[in-house]
Amino acid sequence: MTNQEWEYNLLLDKIADEINISDAMRDKAVSSYQAVGKWIGDGMDWDVEIMPQGSMNLGTIIRPITDFDDGYDMDLVCLLKNGYVLSLKDIKNLVGNRLKENLIYKDKLDDEGKRCWTLNYNGFHMDILPCVPKNIVFNKPENTEIKLTHKNENHMYEPRYSDPFKYHNWFEERMKSVLNIAKGAYATRNQVEIDTVPTYKVRTPLQKAIQLLKRHRDICFQDKDDAPISIILTTLAAQAYNGENNIYEALCHILTKMPIYIENRVGVYWIENPVMPEENFADKWNENSNKKDAFYSWLSQAKKDIITMPLSKRGLDVISPMLKETLGEAPVKRAMIKMANSMRDNCLKSNLYAKGLTGGLTTHAGISSMPIQPHTFYGK
Protein backbone atom coordinates (compact mmCIF):
# COMPACT_ATOMS: atom_id res chain seq x y z
CA MET A 1 0.00 0.00 0.00
CA THR A 2 1.27 3.48 -0.79
CA ASN A 3 1.47 6.17 1.89
CA GLN A 4 -1.46 7.89 0.21
CA GLU A 5 -3.56 4.72 0.34
CA TRP A 6 -2.60 4.08 3.96
CA GLU A 7 -3.58 7.57 5.01
CA TYR A 8 -6.85 7.31 3.08
CA ASN A 9 -7.46 4.00 4.85
CA LEU A 10 -7.18 5.77 8.22
CA LEU A 11 -9.72 8.35 7.08
CA LEU A 12 -12.20 5.68 5.87
CA ASP A 13 -11.76 3.87 9.16
CA LYS A 14 -12.67 7.00 11.10
CA ILE A 15 -15.70 7.68 8.86
CA ALA A 16 -16.97 4.12 9.44
CA ASP A 17 -16.80 4.75 13.19
CA GLU A 18 -18.83 7.92 12.73
CA ILE A 19 -21.72 6.14 10.98
CA ASN A 20 -21.80 3.37 13.56
CA ILE A 21 -24.52 3.22 16.23
CA SER A 22 -23.40 4.90 19.46
CA ASP A 23 -22.45 2.63 22.37
CA ALA A 24 -25.17 4.23 24.49
CA MET A 25 -27.91 3.54 21.93
CA ARG A 26 -26.69 -0.01 21.35
CA ASP A 27 -26.61 -0.72 25.07
CA LYS A 28 -30.11 0.73 25.40
CA ALA A 29 -31.34 -1.53 22.59
CA VAL A 30 -29.70 -4.59 24.14
CA SER A 31 -31.16 -3.98 27.60
CA SER A 32 -34.60 -3.31 26.03
CA TYR A 33 -34.61 -6.57 24.09
CA GLN A 34 -33.48 -8.50 27.15
CA ALA A 35 -36.40 -7.03 29.10
CA VAL A 36 -38.85 -7.93 26.31
CA GLY A 37 -37.43 -11.45 26.16
CA LYS A 38 -37.88 -11.88 29.89
CA TRP A 39 -41.44 -10.61 29.73
CA ILE A 40 -42.39 -12.99 26.94
CA GLY A 41 -40.57 -15.95 28.52
CA ASP A 42 -42.03 -15.40 31.99
CA GLY A 43 -45.59 -15.39 30.72
CA MET A 44 -45.86 -18.59 28.74
CA ASP A 45 -45.21 -22.26 29.18
CA TRP A 46 -43.03 -22.46 26.14
CA ASP A 47 -39.27 -22.30 26.42
CA VAL A 48 -38.46 -18.87 24.98
CA GLU A 49 -35.13 -17.64 23.68
CA ILE A 50 -34.86 -14.12 22.31
CA MET A 51 -31.79 -13.13 20.31
CA PRO A 52 -30.76 -10.31 18.04
CA GLN A 53 -30.26 -11.09 14.37
CA GLY A 54 -29.28 -9.05 11.32
CA SER A 55 -27.05 -6.00 11.24
CA MET A 56 -27.30 -5.25 14.96
CA ASN A 57 -25.95 -8.70 15.71
CA LEU A 58 -23.33 -8.64 12.95
CA GLY A 59 -22.01 -5.21 13.96
CA THR A 60 -22.87 -3.71 10.58
CA ILE A 61 -25.72 -1.44 11.66
CA ILE A 62 -25.47 2.18 10.49
CA ARG A 63 -27.03 5.48 11.38
CA PRO A 64 -29.78 6.79 9.12
CA ILE A 65 -28.65 9.42 6.60
CA THR A 66 -30.17 12.13 8.80
CA ASP A 67 -27.14 11.29 11.00
CA PHE A 68 -29.37 11.23 14.11
CA ASP A 69 -28.42 8.45 16.48
CA ASP A 70 -31.93 6.99 16.21
CA GLY A 71 -34.39 5.38 13.83
CA TYR A 72 -32.52 2.06 13.96
CA ASP A 73 -34.23 -1.20 13.12
CA MET A 74 -33.35 -3.91 15.56
CA ASP A 75 -34.25 -7.40 14.42
CA LEU A 76 -34.92 -10.04 17.04
CA VAL A 77 -35.70 -13.70 16.81
CA CYS A 78 -38.21 -14.88 19.41
CA LEU A 79 -37.79 -18.63 19.36
CA LEU A 80 -40.27 -20.91 21.13
CA LYS A 81 -37.70 -23.69 21.45
CA ASN A 82 -40.12 -26.49 22.26
CA GLY A 83 -42.90 -25.13 20.07
CA TYR A 84 -42.37 -27.44 17.10
CA VAL A 85 -45.96 -28.64 17.36
CA LEU A 86 -47.56 -25.17 17.34
CA SER A 87 -49.68 -23.99 14.43
CA LEU A 88 -48.39 -21.04 12.43
CA LYS A 89 -51.16 -18.83 13.74
CA ASP A 90 -50.38 -19.78 17.33
CA ILE A 91 -46.68 -19.10 16.89
CA LYS A 92 -47.45 -15.55 15.82
CA ASN A 93 -50.28 -14.84 18.23
CA LEU A 94 -48.80 -16.33 21.38
CA VAL A 95 -46.03 -13.77 21.17
CA GLY A 96 -48.32 -10.91 20.07
CA ASN A 97 -50.84 -11.58 22.82
CA ARG A 98 -48.17 -11.76 25.47
CA LEU A 99 -46.81 -8.38 24.36
CA LYS A 100 -50.32 -6.89 24.54
CA GLU A 101 -50.64 -8.04 28.17
CA ASN A 102 -48.03 -5.46 29.14
CA LEU A 103 -49.42 -1.93 29.00
CA ILE A 104 -46.05 -0.40 28.15
CA TYR A 105 -45.45 -2.80 25.29
CA LYS A 106 -49.07 -2.58 24.13
CA ASP A 107 -48.60 1.16 23.79
CA LYS A 108 -45.43 0.69 21.71
CA LEU A 109 -46.84 -2.08 19.52
CA ASP A 110 -47.70 -1.56 15.84
CA ASP A 111 -50.47 -3.46 14.07
CA GLU A 112 -49.49 -7.00 13.18
CA GLY A 113 -46.78 -7.12 10.53
CA LYS A 114 -46.37 -9.72 7.81
CA ARG A 115 -43.80 -11.64 9.81
CA CYS A 116 -42.95 -9.57 12.89
CA TRP A 117 -44.35 -7.68 15.80
CA THR A 118 -42.86 -4.21 15.95
CA LEU A 119 -42.29 -2.25 19.15
CA ASN A 120 -41.50 1.44 18.67
CA TYR A 121 -38.95 2.73 21.13
CA ASN A 122 -37.45 6.15 21.41
CA GLY A 123 -34.45 5.69 19.10
CA PHE A 124 -35.20 2.35 17.48
CA HIS A 125 -37.84 -0.04 16.20
CA MET A 126 -37.69 -3.55 17.54
CA ASP A 127 -38.91 -6.14 15.05
CA ILE A 128 -39.69 -9.36 16.91
CA LEU A 129 -39.89 -12.44 14.73
CA PRO A 130 -41.89 -15.26 16.38
CA CYS A 131 -40.63 -18.66 15.29
CA VAL A 132 -40.11 -22.30 16.25
CA PRO A 133 -37.43 -24.82 15.32
CA LYS A 134 -37.81 -26.22 11.82
CA ASN A 135 -36.89 -29.65 13.12
CA ILE A 136 -37.96 -31.19 16.41
CA VAL A 137 -34.57 -30.67 17.94
CA PHE A 138 -32.94 -27.26 18.14
CA ASN A 139 -29.26 -27.48 19.03
CA LYS A 140 -26.58 -24.87 18.47
CA PRO A 141 -24.52 -24.89 16.40
CA GLU A 142 -25.70 -27.86 14.27
CA ASN A 143 -29.50 -27.73 14.14
CA THR A 144 -30.52 -24.11 14.13
CA GLU A 145 -32.99 -23.75 11.27
CA ILE A 146 -36.16 -21.93 12.26
CA LYS A 147 -39.72 -21.87 10.95
CA LEU A 148 -41.33 -18.47 10.87
CA THR A 149 -44.74 -17.29 9.75
CA HIS A 150 -45.62 -15.16 6.75
CA LYS A 151 -49.09 -13.59 6.59
CA ASN A 152 -50.15 -13.40 2.96
CA GLU A 153 -52.61 -11.02 1.23
CA ASN A 154 -55.50 -13.35 2.12
CA HIS A 155 -54.52 -13.13 5.81
CA MET A 156 -53.42 -16.76 5.77
CA TYR A 157 -50.21 -17.82 7.49
CA GLU A 158 -47.58 -19.54 5.38
CA PRO A 159 -44.39 -21.15 6.68
CA ARG A 160 -41.01 -19.67 5.84
CA TYR A 161 -37.59 -20.90 6.88
CA SER A 162 -34.41 -19.21 7.91
CA ASP A 163 -31.21 -19.80 9.84
CA PRO A 164 -29.97 -16.55 11.37
CA PHE A 165 -27.74 -18.35 13.87
CA LYS A 166 -25.88 -20.19 11.20
CA TYR A 167 -25.60 -17.05 9.08
CA HIS A 168 -24.04 -15.24 12.02
CA ASN A 169 -21.51 -18.04 12.47
CA TRP A 170 -20.76 -18.04 8.76
CA PHE A 171 -20.20 -14.27 8.86
CA GLU A 172 -17.81 -14.64 11.80
CA GLU A 173 -15.98 -17.44 10.03
CA ARG A 174 -15.40 -15.20 6.98
CA MET A 175 -13.33 -12.83 9.14
CA LYS A 176 -12.09 -15.31 11.70
CA SER A 177 -8.47 -14.28 12.10
CA VAL A 178 -9.04 -10.51 12.27
CA LEU A 179 -12.10 -11.08 14.47
CA ASN A 180 -10.04 -13.07 16.96
CA ILE A 181 -7.44 -10.33 17.05
CA ALA A 182 -10.12 -7.66 17.54
CA LYS A 183 -11.86 -9.66 20.26
CA GLY A 184 -8.54 -10.35 21.97
CA ALA A 185 -7.75 -6.64 22.01
CA TYR A 186 -11.23 -5.83 23.34
CA ALA A 187 -10.92 -8.53 26.03
CA THR A 188 -7.55 -7.18 27.19
CA ARG A 189 -8.77 -3.60 27.16
CA ASN A 190 -11.87 -4.40 29.19
CA GLN A 191 -10.36 -7.22 31.26
CA VAL A 192 -12.94 -9.82 30.23
CA GLU A 193 -12.71 -13.33 28.78
CA ILE A 194 -12.31 -13.36 24.99
CA ASP A 195 -15.17 -15.87 24.58
CA THR A 196 -17.61 -13.46 26.19
CA VAL A 197 -16.97 -10.64 23.69
CA PRO A 198 -19.88 -10.43 21.24
CA THR A 199 -19.11 -9.75 17.58
CA TYR A 200 -21.23 -6.59 17.59
CA LYS A 201 -18.90 -5.01 20.15
CA VAL A 202 -15.78 -5.20 17.99
CA ARG A 203 -14.91 -3.42 14.76
CA THR A 204 -13.22 -5.36 11.98
CA PRO A 205 -12.31 -4.11 8.49
CA LEU A 206 -15.12 -6.25 7.02
CA GLN A 207 -17.75 -4.82 9.34
CA LYS A 208 -16.58 -1.28 8.64
CA ALA A 209 -16.38 -1.86 4.89
CA ILE A 210 -19.98 -3.12 4.89
CA GLN A 211 -21.06 -0.07 6.88
CA LEU A 212 -19.49 2.27 4.32
CA LEU A 213 -21.07 0.36 1.43
CA LYS A 214 -24.49 0.50 3.08
CA ARG A 215 -24.12 4.21 3.73
CA HIS A 216 -23.07 4.82 0.11
CA ARG A 217 -26.10 2.79 -1.00
CA ASP A 218 -28.45 4.78 1.26
CA ILE A 219 -27.25 8.11 -0.14
CA CYS A 220 -27.15 6.85 -3.72
CA PHE A 221 -30.76 5.66 -3.53
CA GLN A 222 -32.32 8.34 -1.36
CA ASP A 223 -34.45 9.54 -4.32
CA LYS A 224 -34.48 6.30 -6.32
CA ASP A 225 -36.16 2.92 -6.10
CA ASP A 226 -34.60 -0.53 -6.27
CA ALA A 227 -31.79 -0.01 -3.74
CA PRO A 228 -29.83 -3.25 -3.26
CA ILE A 229 -30.96 -4.88 -0.01
CA SER A 230 -28.58 -5.08 2.95
CA ILE A 231 -28.46 -8.88 3.05
CA ILE A 232 -27.17 -8.86 -0.54
CA LEU A 233 -24.47 -6.27 0.22
CA THR A 234 -23.50 -8.03 3.44
CA THR A 235 -23.38 -11.51 1.92
CA LEU A 236 -21.47 -10.52 -1.21
CA ALA A 237 -19.03 -8.40 0.80
CA ALA A 238 -18.37 -11.20 3.27
CA GLN A 239 -17.95 -13.69 0.40
CA ALA A 240 -15.51 -11.43 -1.41
CA TYR A 241 -13.56 -10.44 1.71
CA ASN A 242 -10.16 -12.06 1.81
CA GLY A 243 -8.94 -11.41 5.34
CA GLU A 244 -7.49 -7.95 4.66
CA ASN A 245 -6.45 -6.28 7.89
CA ASN A 246 -7.42 -2.77 6.83
CA ILE A 247 -10.58 -1.21 5.48
CA TYR A 248 -9.09 0.28 2.30
CA GLU A 249 -7.71 -2.99 0.97
CA ALA A 250 -10.84 -4.81 2.14
CA LEU A 251 -13.01 -2.37 0.14
CA CYS A 252 -10.82 -2.58 -2.98
CA HIS A 253 -11.03 -6.35 -2.92
CA ILE A 254 -14.74 -6.49 -2.09
CA LEU A 255 -15.77 -4.00 -4.77
CA THR A 256 -13.79 -5.91 -7.38
CA LYS A 257 -14.80 -9.44 -6.40
CA MET A 258 -18.45 -9.00 -5.39
CA PRO A 259 -19.89 -9.89 -8.83
CA ILE A 260 -18.13 -13.28 -8.78
CA TYR A 261 -20.62 -14.47 -6.20
CA ILE A 262 -23.66 -13.58 -8.30
CA GLU A 263 -24.60 -16.65 -10.30
CA ASN A 264 -26.67 -16.97 -13.40
CA ARG A 265 -28.44 -20.30 -13.17
CA VAL A 266 -29.91 -20.83 -16.63
CA GLY A 267 -31.13 -17.26 -16.87
CA VAL A 268 -32.01 -16.96 -13.19
CA TYR A 269 -29.94 -14.54 -11.11
CA TRP A 270 -28.96 -16.25 -7.92
CA ILE A 271 -27.20 -14.99 -4.78
CA GLU A 272 -27.06 -18.00 -2.57
CA ASN A 273 -27.76 -17.79 1.12
CA PRO A 274 -24.47 -19.36 2.23
CA VAL A 275 -26.16 -21.29 5.04
CA MET A 276 -29.40 -22.22 3.22
CA PRO A 277 -28.44 -22.87 -0.40
CA GLU A 278 -32.07 -23.20 -1.50
CA GLU A 279 -32.67 -19.54 -0.62
CA ASN A 280 -31.93 -16.96 -3.31
CA PHE A 281 -31.35 -13.47 -1.89
CA ALA A 282 -31.71 -12.10 -5.43
CA ASP A 283 -35.11 -13.67 -6.15
CA LYS A 284 -36.63 -10.20 -6.68
CA TRP A 285 -34.07 -9.47 -9.42
CA ASN A 286 -35.75 -12.09 -11.55
CA GLU A 287 -39.15 -10.47 -11.14
CA ASN A 288 -37.86 -6.95 -11.74
CA SER A 289 -34.67 -6.54 -13.75
CA ASN A 290 -34.39 -2.90 -12.64
CA LYS A 291 -33.20 -4.22 -9.29
CA LYS A 292 -30.38 -6.15 -10.90
CA ASP A 293 -29.40 -3.14 -13.06
CA ALA A 294 -29.54 -0.89 -9.98
CA PHE A 295 -27.12 -3.17 -8.16
CA TYR A 296 -24.55 -3.18 -10.95
CA SER A 297 -24.75 0.56 -11.50
CA TRP A 298 -24.43 1.16 -7.73
CA LEU A 299 -21.37 -1.12 -7.62
CA SER A 300 -19.59 0.79 -10.34
CA GLN A 301 -20.54 4.13 -8.73
CA ALA A 302 -19.26 2.93 -5.34
CA LYS A 303 -15.88 1.98 -6.83
CA LYS A 304 -15.61 5.39 -8.40
CA ASP A 305 -16.82 7.36 -5.35
CA ILE A 306 -15.01 5.45 -2.62
CA ILE A 307 -11.80 4.34 -4.32
CA THR A 308 -10.93 5.95 -7.64
CA MET A 309 -11.95 9.59 -7.32
CA PRO A 310 -10.68 10.45 -3.83
CA LEU A 311 -7.27 8.98 -4.64
CA SER A 312 -7.03 10.79 -7.97
CA LYS A 313 -6.93 14.20 -6.24
CA ARG A 314 -4.63 15.82 -3.71
CA GLY A 315 -5.69 18.01 -0.80
CA LEU A 316 -7.70 17.02 2.28
CA ASP A 317 -10.02 19.91 1.42
CA VAL A 318 -10.55 18.49 -2.09
CA ILE A 319 -11.16 14.93 -0.97
CA SER A 320 -13.45 15.98 1.86
CA PRO A 321 -16.36 17.36 -0.27
CA MET A 322 -16.26 14.24 -2.47
CA LEU A 323 -16.63 12.00 0.56
CA LYS A 324 -19.23 14.27 2.16
CA GLU A 325 -21.36 13.96 -0.94
CA THR A 326 -21.19 10.19 -1.10
CA LEU A 327 -20.92 9.16 2.57
CA GLY A 328 -22.58 12.09 4.36
CA GLU A 329 -21.57 15.59 5.40
CA ALA A 330 -21.67 15.17 9.18
CA PRO A 331 -19.76 11.89 9.65
CA VAL A 332 -17.00 12.92 7.22
CA LYS A 333 -16.57 16.25 8.98
CA ARG A 334 -16.50 14.61 12.42
CA ALA A 335 -13.98 12.02 11.20
CA MET A 336 -11.65 14.70 9.86
CA ILE A 337 -11.89 16.81 13.01
CA LYS A 338 -11.07 13.74 15.08
CA MET A 339 -8.03 13.05 12.90
CA ALA A 340 -6.87 16.64 13.26
CA ASN A 341 -7.44 16.61 17.03
CA SER A 342 -5.49 13.40 17.35
CA MET A 343 -2.63 15.02 15.41
CA ARG A 344 -2.76 17.95 17.83
CA ASP A 345 -2.74 15.61 20.85
CA ASN A 346 0.32 13.82 19.51
CA CYS A 347 2.02 17.15 19.01
CA LEU A 348 1.28 18.20 22.61
CA LYS A 349 2.68 14.88 23.83
CA SER A 350 5.85 15.46 21.76
CA ASN A 351 4.99 12.41 19.72
CA LEU A 352 4.85 13.97 16.27
CA TYR A 353 7.44 14.09 13.51
CA ALA A 354 7.72 15.60 10.05
CA LYS A 355 8.94 12.94 7.63
CA GLY A 356 11.23 14.74 5.23
CA LEU A 357 9.71 17.78 3.58
CA THR A 358 7.01 15.90 1.72
CA GLY A 359 6.39 12.69 3.69
CA GLY A 360 3.90 14.38 5.98
CA LEU A 361 3.37 14.34 9.72
CA THR A 362 3.76 11.02 11.45
CA THR A 363 3.95 9.52 14.93
CA HIS A 364 6.83 7.27 13.89
CA ALA A 365 10.34 8.55 14.42
CA GLY A 366 12.60 7.69 11.47
CA ILE A 367 15.95 8.60 9.99
CA SER A 368 14.53 11.39 7.85
CA SER A 369 12.00 12.60 10.42
CA MET A 370 12.26 15.74 12.50
CA PRO A 371 10.42 15.99 15.82
CA ILE A 372 7.84 18.75 16.03
CA GLN A 373 9.02 20.75 19.01
CA PRO A 374 6.47 22.41 21.29
CA HIS A 375 5.33 25.77 19.92
CA THR A 376 2.28 27.96 19.54
CA PHE A 377 0.73 29.19 16.31
CA TYR A 378 0.37 32.91 16.52
CA GLY A 379 -1.14 35.81 14.63
CA LYS A 380 -4.76 36.51 13.66
Binding site: T2, N3, Q4, W6, E7, Y8, L11, R314, G315, L316, D317, V318, I319, S320, K333, M336, I337, M339, A340, N341, M343, R344, C347, L348, L352, Y353, A354, G356, L357, T358, G359, G360, L361, M370, P371, I372, Q373, H375, T376, F377, Y378, G379, K380
Partner: protein, 154 residues
Protein backbone atom coordinates in the same frame (compact mmCIF):
# COMPACT_ATOMS: atom_id res chain seq x y z
CA UNK B 1 33.73 23.55 32.07
CA UNK B 2 33.60 21.21 35.05
CA UNK B 3 37.06 22.29 36.26
CA UNK B 4 36.05 25.93 36.19
CA UNK B 5 33.26 25.25 38.60
CA UNK B 6 35.80 24.66 41.35
CA UNK B 7 36.90 28.32 41.20
CA UNK B 8 36.28 30.19 44.43
CA UNK B 9 34.91 33.37 42.94
CA UNK B 10 31.14 33.54 42.92
CA UNK B 11 31.43 35.96 39.99
CA UNK B 12 33.20 33.35 37.87
CA UNK B 13 30.75 30.70 38.94
CA UNK B 14 27.93 32.89 37.67
CA UNK B 15 29.64 33.37 34.33
CA UNK B 16 30.30 29.67 33.97
CA UNK B 17 26.68 28.80 34.48
CA UNK B 18 25.73 31.35 31.86
CA UNK B 19 28.18 29.96 29.33
CA UNK B 20 27.19 26.45 30.15
CA UNK B 21 23.43 26.75 29.68
CA UNK B 22 23.00 29.32 26.97
CA UNK B 23 23.49 27.84 23.49
CA UNK B 24 25.52 29.96 21.19
CA UNK B 25 24.07 32.05 18.42
CA UNK B 26 24.02 30.35 15.03
CA UNK B 27 25.54 32.16 12.09
CA UNK B 28 23.56 32.22 8.85
CA UNK B 29 26.03 29.88 7.20
CA UNK B 30 25.48 27.36 9.99
CA UNK B 31 21.71 27.64 9.64
CA UNK B 32 22.12 27.07 5.92
CA UNK B 33 24.39 24.04 6.38
CA UNK B 34 22.05 22.42 8.85
CA UNK B 35 19.05 22.95 6.58
CA UNK B 36 20.74 21.57 3.48
CA UNK B 37 22.16 18.67 5.41
CA UNK B 38 18.65 17.65 6.50
CA UNK B 39 16.82 18.69 3.33
CA UNK B 40 19.26 18.49 0.39
CA UNK B 41 16.39 18.80 -2.11
CA UNK B 42 15.65 22.36 -1.02
CA UNK B 43 17.38 25.62 -1.99
CA UNK B 44 19.16 27.87 0.44
CA UNK B 45 21.19 31.02 -0.27
CA UNK B 46 22.64 33.85 1.75
CA UNK B 47 23.05 37.33 0.39
CA UNK B 48 23.26 40.72 2.07
CA UNK B 49 23.15 39.05 5.48
CA UNK B 50 19.83 37.46 4.67
CA UNK B 51 19.13 33.75 4.40
CA UNK B 52 16.58 32.72 1.79
CA UNK B 53 15.30 29.15 1.84
CA UNK B 54 12.89 27.64 -0.65
CA UNK B 55 11.31 24.20 -0.48
CA UNK B 56 8.29 22.16 -1.45
CA UNK B 57 6.33 20.93 1.56
CA UNK B 58 3.59 18.35 1.89
CA UNK B 59 1.95 17.90 5.30
CA UNK B 60 0.16 14.60 4.66
CA UNK B 61 0.18 11.90 1.96
CA UNK B 62 -3.35 13.07 0.99
CA UNK B 63 -2.31 16.72 0.80
CA UNK B 64 -1.16 19.06 -1.94
CA UNK B 65 2.45 20.16 -2.29
CA UNK B 66 3.03 23.74 -1.18
CA UNK B 67 5.79 26.12 -2.20
CA UNK B 68 7.31 27.76 0.85
CA UNK B 69 10.08 30.27 1.37
CA UNK B 70 11.72 31.45 4.56
CA UNK B 71 13.57 34.76 4.80
CA UNK B 72 15.75 35.19 7.83
CA UNK B 73 18.04 37.88 9.17
CA UNK B 74 19.81 37.35 12.50
CA UNK B 75 17.93 38.88 15.45
CA UNK B 76 14.76 39.18 13.39
CA UNK B 77 11.73 36.93 13.17
CA UNK B 78 11.99 34.50 10.24
CA UNK B 79 9.40 35.33 7.60
CA UNK B 80 7.57 32.19 6.52
CA UNK B 81 5.81 32.65 3.21
CA UNK B 82 3.60 30.12 1.47
CA UNK B 83 3.21 31.18 -2.14
CA UNK B 84 1.77 30.19 -5.48
CA UNK B 85 -1.56 28.83 -6.69
CA UNK B 86 -1.79 25.95 -4.21
CA UNK B 87 -2.60 28.31 -1.34
CA UNK B 88 -4.77 30.67 -3.34
CA UNK B 89 -7.65 28.40 -4.16
CA UNK B 90 -9.83 30.12 -1.57
CA UNK B 91 -10.96 33.64 -0.73
CA UNK B 92 -11.03 32.79 2.96
CA UNK B 93 -8.44 34.19 5.35
CA UNK B 94 -6.74 31.29 7.15
CA UNK B 95 -6.04 31.55 10.90
CA UNK B 96 -2.52 32.35 12.16
CA UNK B 97 -1.50 34.55 9.28
CA UNK B 98 0.37 37.89 9.40
CA UNK B 99 -0.57 39.14 5.98
CA UNK B 100 -1.82 38.08 2.58
CA UNK B 101 -0.63 39.56 -0.70
CA UNK B 102 -3.19 38.49 -3.27
CA UNK B 103 -1.30 40.09 -6.15
CA UNK B 104 1.95 38.27 -5.40
CA UNK B 105 0.00 35.22 -4.21
CA UNK B 106 1.87 35.12 -0.92
CA UNK B 107 0.69 34.31 2.59
CA UNK B 108 2.94 35.22 5.46
CA UNK B 109 2.15 32.76 8.23
CA UNK B 110 2.87 32.82 11.97
CA UNK B 111 4.07 29.51 13.28
CA UNK B 112 5.40 30.53 16.69
CA UNK B 113 5.19 33.04 19.52
CA UNK B 114 7.95 35.69 19.54
CA UNK B 115 9.63 33.99 22.52
CA UNK B 116 9.75 30.59 20.86
CA UNK B 117 12.47 31.45 18.33
CA UNK B 118 15.72 33.37 18.47
CA UNK B 119 19.10 33.27 16.77
CA UNK B 120 20.28 30.52 19.15
CA UNK B 121 17.72 28.13 17.67
CA UNK B 122 18.00 26.19 14.44
CA UNK B 123 15.46 26.90 11.70
CA UNK B 124 15.72 23.31 10.48
CA UNK B 125 14.51 21.98 13.83
CA UNK B 126 11.73 24.48 14.40
CA UNK B 127 10.44 26.80 11.70
CA UNK B 128 10.38 24.19 8.91
CA UNK B 129 8.63 21.39 10.85
CA UNK B 130 6.23 23.95 12.34
CA UNK B 131 5.38 25.13 8.82
CA UNK B 132 4.62 21.56 7.74
CA UNK B 133 2.32 21.30 10.74
CA UNK B 134 0.62 24.64 9.92
CA UNK B 135 -0.06 23.37 6.39
CA UNK B 136 -1.72 20.22 7.79
CA UNK B 137 -4.07 22.20 10.00
CA UNK B 138 -4.65 24.65 7.16
CA UNK B 139 -5.97 21.88 4.88
CA UNK B 140 -8.04 20.44 7.72
CA UNK B 141 -9.41 23.94 8.35
CA UNK B 142 -10.40 24.23 4.69
CA UNK B 143 -12.02 20.78 4.86
CA UNK B 144 -13.94 21.23 8.11
CA UNK B 145 -14.13 24.95 8.87
CA UNK B 146 -12.36 24.35 12.19
CA UNK B 147 -8.78 25.17 13.16
CA UNK B 148 -7.62 22.23 15.29
CA UNK B 149 -3.97 23.25 15.66
CA UNK B 150 -4.36 25.50 18.70
CA UNK B 151 -2.46 28.78 19.03
CA UNK B 152 -2.76 32.34 20.26
CA UNK B 153 -4.09 35.48 18.61
CA UNK B 154 -1.88 38.54 18.63
Amino acid sequence: MQELVVCQSSHILFMVSKIKFRPREYRLIEQKMMILNQYPDSECDISNNKLLWKGNLCPNPLSRIYQVKIEYTIHKRPQVIVYGDCIFNTELMPPHVFKIDRVKKEINICVHLPAEFNSHILIVKTIIPWTIEWLYFYEMWLATGEWCGGGHSC
